[in-house]
């Protein structure tokens, strides 16, 4: 039986049995509540210059001429362009198509072309306006449709960055048999828009030349070794001459996965040329306009179902807009494709996914990494199936949700920790979904009748209420062979004071990396978490435990650290002749060990799990070691005259294997849920000629505290045998369910299913008036 934990809100005292499962105070919270935590913009280095970026303003073209206004006083301004790059002019990532600074060709409207620095931030701001760039305009490709038409070629001869196919059974034949034996064909197309990560701390990096002829780059980032790799390439420096360290980071959500490589290299280039430390801090306008966003998507699903709602065949076609450069699009697409059929059993599934090139700023990582887009489509589609068959959406989920032994579209057999039904039933029970489904349906009919008779609700409004449901899953860790290829490394050593110290590149970006690592290692070593030190992710000090992405930090890196801690414990116990009972005991043993041997370090490299296999060419095999599961219900009230949707309640259960720290885990879930709600109802990136025009918080709207209701979160713990203490991933999963649940609730309230997020009031009104007329 799974263990269930309610939303443990209060901090419990550390138990003598260890701290895993206990919500100890977050390690760095004290600095954060006193204002003492130093974020990048809080750092001042003597002699520091402020750097700015001159960008294209047109989406596509060729640079003809760059003029520095001779009327402007350029004294003290450092100017750098592509010719100043000592190494290769690329942002090293998957493909090397993206330049650090455009040399000739402009492929999107925010393309960086020139860098400026000055000791005065005001002066460099003025200099920015004294640069004129003449461009020969080329026809841009601004939509996915234009990209597929391939009249203008941006990438090879198709404009397709990546195409993925996943086939299981024979969906095509099955779909041709529609109508036979009462089977029903259900079709739909679903769309999602761009979404901005909107971390509250904008991107910021600080670069300095070091005395040994290398570089030190500090910044707000998720993946120090990505920046490290990019800098080595751009400056032609060996690994040991480049040092990248994370500063306290004010949120990431994927938005600081890849782009810090660009900004870090820009700051470094200005530092290289000027010989002075250079800080680049984006303002909000630049951050929204230029940095990566969630890939917009459109997904067409054709399905064959039985009268009872059983899925017989699925044919899914996914399109994502990758933007101007490849960046991470192939892997976002991959995760999207693998999750596209949702946590459901279906013997015949065919998935085709394509990411295309357009003349817009590259899209990138954002919590969920493709899976929220495709599961939005699948969940909306499950509702469409229910409506077409006159079944409740819950029945269709119950009928098809995976259980142990079921097989995913890639052929992965789900062998353990399969929480789909558990989270579904718990969410349904806690939210009183079934009773509310009936009640709102009756109330809505009564309200319509009353309105026809001229009677309105107390405030004279025409409102409808509804409750909707979604069920999702999310694979933890890198997809397929990703972890094996990465072969990440994590270590623990002993400080001179005799304390264990965690060495990993996994960053704290608010989610609690430092705290949960200390808890797990503390327990594995038999010492309190507070006794464990966590080194700053600094490539000069820590091994490459991989990027802080893909819900991998706790399960994958945490797992390696626990193994390392157990090894250290065995070594130290053997040396000491006995176990220690407390921290001072550990300290004594550790210091004696150091005195005798000089150092103690336990290191673990990721090793392929024997039971997992993956073939990247055929997309067959175990896409992930395990999946986490979530269900979510949302209650809404829709005002038929304004089109506004008000959220009344959100109830969710998440099976994450084990909550190492219940408060932090529920914090991840609550934060992810609200990002999902924002994506569902508010967050709309508006474009004009390939540029974001609402690139400010005045008109790119994210949820405030009054936009969201009380969140009811339940954690379900169905342990994963390979996860540390049974833990699976939690970071991204909460992003998957809210948007389709909102659409489902609106459909219940109004009878209209909007197959697209965000569901803005005007969209809903338009659909409603069409439905009323039709």
């Amino acid at each position: 039986m799974p263990r269930v934990r309610s939303t443990g809100r209060a901090t419990k005292p550390a138990s003598p049995d260890g701290s895993v499962g206990v919500s100890i105070p977050k390690l760095e919270a004290h600095e954060k509540v006193t204002g003492a935590a130093l974020y990048l913009d809080d750092l001042r280095v003597p002699g520091m210059l402020h750097g700015r970026t001159v960008r294209s303003t047109v989406a596509r073209g060729r640079i003809r001429k760059i003029t520095l206004d001779p009327a402007f006083d350029w004294t003290g301004v450092t100017v750098a362009d592509h010719k100043d790059i000592p190494g290769d002019n690329v942002v090293a990532l998957i493909e090397e198509d993206q330049p650090l600074l455009a040399a000739h060709e402009i492929r999107h409207a925010e393309e960086p072309i020139l860098l400026l620095a000055h000791e005065s931030a005001e002066r460099v701001e003025k200099a920015l306006r004294a640069v004129r760039i003449e461009v020969e305009l080329l026809e841009p490709v601004l939509t996915v449709e234009q990209a597929l038409a391939a009249k203008q070629l941006l990438y090879k001869d198709t404009n397709i960055f990546k195409e993925i196919r996943i086939d299981r059974g024979d969906a095509a034949s099955a779909l041709r048999s529609a109508g036979v034996a009462g089977t029903v064909l259900v079709e739909g197309t679903y769309r999602t828009g761009h979404q901005e990560q909107l971390y509250i701390e904008n991107n910021a990096m600080l670069a300095e030349r070091t005395e040994d002829g290398g570089l030190l780059v500090r910044g707000s980032l998720q993946c120090p070794y990505y920046v490290h790799k990019a800098l080595m390439r751009a400056f032609g420096l060996p690994a040991e001459k480049v040092r990248v360290a994370q500063t306290v980071t004010g949120g990431g959500f994927g938005g600081k996965e890849e782009y810090p490589s660009m900004i870090g290299a820009h700051a470094a280039l200005l530092a290289w040329k000027s010989g002075k430390p250079v800080k680049i801090v984006y303002d909000r306008l630049e951050d929204i306009a230029a940095t990566t966003k969630r890939h917009p998507s459109q997904t067409r699903i054709r399905s064959l179902v039985d009268r009872d709602g059983s899925l017989l065949a699925l044919d899914i076609d996914i399109l994502m807009d990758g933007g101007a450069y490849v960046t991470l699009s192939p892997v976002v697409l991959s995760r999207g494709a693998i999750h596209a059929a949702g946590p459901y059993r279906c013997a015949n599934t065919s998935i085709r996914a394509r990411a295309v090139a357009t003349s817009t700023p590259p899209n990138g990582a954002f919590r969920g990494f493709g899976a929220p887009q495709t599961q939005f489509a699948m969940e909306c589609h499950m509702d469409r199936i229910a409506r077409q068959l006159k079944l409740d959406p819950l029945e269709v989920r119950r009928k098809n949700a995976v259980r142990e032994g079921d097989v995913t579209p890639t052929g992965q057999v789900l062998t353990e920790s399969v929480g789909a039904h558990e989270v579904l039933e718990r969410t349904v029970r806690r939210s009183h979904y079934e009773a509310k489904r009936k009640r709102y349906a009756q109330e809505n009919v009564a309200a319509a009748r009353a309105e026809r008779a001229g009677r309105f609700d107390g405030r004279g409004r025409r409102v409808r209420r509804g409750i909707g449901l979604a069920l999702v899953y999310h694979g933890a860790g890198f997809t397929g062979g990703g972890e094996v290829k990465l072969a990440s490394l994590a270590a623990i050593d002993i400080t001179p004071r005799g304390r264990p110290r965690i060495l990993s590149a996994s960053t704290e970006i608010g989610q609690g990396t430092r705290t949960i690592f200390a808890q797990m290692v503390g327990d594995a070593l038999g010492v309190p978490a507070e006794f464990v030190e966590v080194e700053t992710p600094d490539t000069g000090l820590v091994p490459d435990s991989g990027p802080t992405v893909a819900s991998r930090t706790c399960m994958v890196v945490g797992g390696m650290l626990v193994d390392a801690a157990r090894e250290m414990r065995a070594e130290l116990t053997a040396f000491h002749g006995a176990e220690w009972s407390d921290a001072p005991g550990f300290e004594r043993a550790a210091r004696r060990y150091l005195a005798e041997h000089g150092a103690l370090r336990a290191e673990k490299r990721y090793r392929r799990l024997a039971e997992l296999s993956w073939d990247d060419d055929t997309y067959r095999g175990d896409a992930y070691g395990v999946f986490s599961y979530a269900a979510c219900t949302v209650e809404v009230e829709v005002d038929l005259d304004t089109g506004e949707t008000t959220l009344l309640s959100v109830t969710t259960a998440h099976d994450i294997g084990k909550a190492i720290h219940p408060v932090l885990a529920t914090g991840q879930i609550e934060g992810g849920i609200v990002q999902g709600l924002g994506w569902a109802l508010l967050e709309d990136v508006r474009w004009k000629d390939g540029r974001v025009w609402n690139h400010q918080l005045t008109n790119y709207i994210i949820p405030t505290a009054v936009d969201v209701p009380t969140l009811d979160v339940e954690i379900v713990e169905i342990p994963y045998s390979r996860g540390p203490f049974g833990a699976k991933g939690v970071g991204e999963l909460p992003m998957d369910a809210p948007a389709p649940a909102v659409v489902s609730a609106i459909a219940h309230a109004t009878g209209i299913q909007i197959d697209e997020v965000p569901v803005l009031p005007e969209k809903l009104l338009r659909a409603h008036s069409q439905a009323s007329v039709g």
Binding site: T34, D42, I200
Partner: protein
């Protein structure tokens, strides 16, 4: 550029600063007073990361010209703890998961502090707390743990 001399009392300490009159209070606090706890998130008064109290009322310090704060009493996040001891509000943020990445936390705490100061011991409803914090954006927490921490502090009877 002409400069003016201003007198600000920040967290009980008097600062005399010579700055351009239109310099943002946010920058005066960060550059002149060396109090970097107050953050900038948007520079246009939308996110609330730069919230401070000016004579007891919350304001976005990115929208306040320094000259307007001349002679005022200003409270920033650094002034919430006394002698290294956290206020009840701060402690409950630490214990209850109210701070994740922490960048909105200073402004959020200042807004919550104002609410509790006005509530004078009354426990505000969840909606009141949400209204009071509506000018402070947080992208990490989904607000639940922040709201809970503020109400828990109120139940303790005071921000302190």
């Amino acid at each position: 550029m002409s400069e003016v001399t201003l007198r600000l009392t920040v967290n009980g300490k008097t600062h005399r600063v010579r700055v351009p009159p239109m310099k943002r209070l946010l920058d005066v606090l960060r550059d002149e007073c060396k109090l970097t706890g107050t953050k900038e998130g948007c520079g246009e008064g939308e996110c609330g990361a730069c919230t401070v109290l000016i004579d007891g009322r919350s304001a976005n310090s990115c929208l306040v010209p320094a000259v307007q704060a001349d002679g005022a009493k200003i409270l920033t996040v650094e002034g919430l703890s006394k002698d290294g001891r956290l206020s009840a509000l701060q402690r409950l943020f630490v214990e209850g998961g109210g701070a994740q990445c922490g960048i909105c936390t200073p402004g959020m705490l200042v807004s919550a502090h104002e609410l509790l100061a006005r509530a004078k011991g009354r426990v505000p409803s969840e909606n009141e707390v949400r209204e009071a914090l509506a000018g402070n954006l947080c992208r990490c927490t989904g607000y639940q743990k922040i709201v809970d921490a503020v109400r828990a502090a109120a139940r303790g009877g005071r921000a302190w």
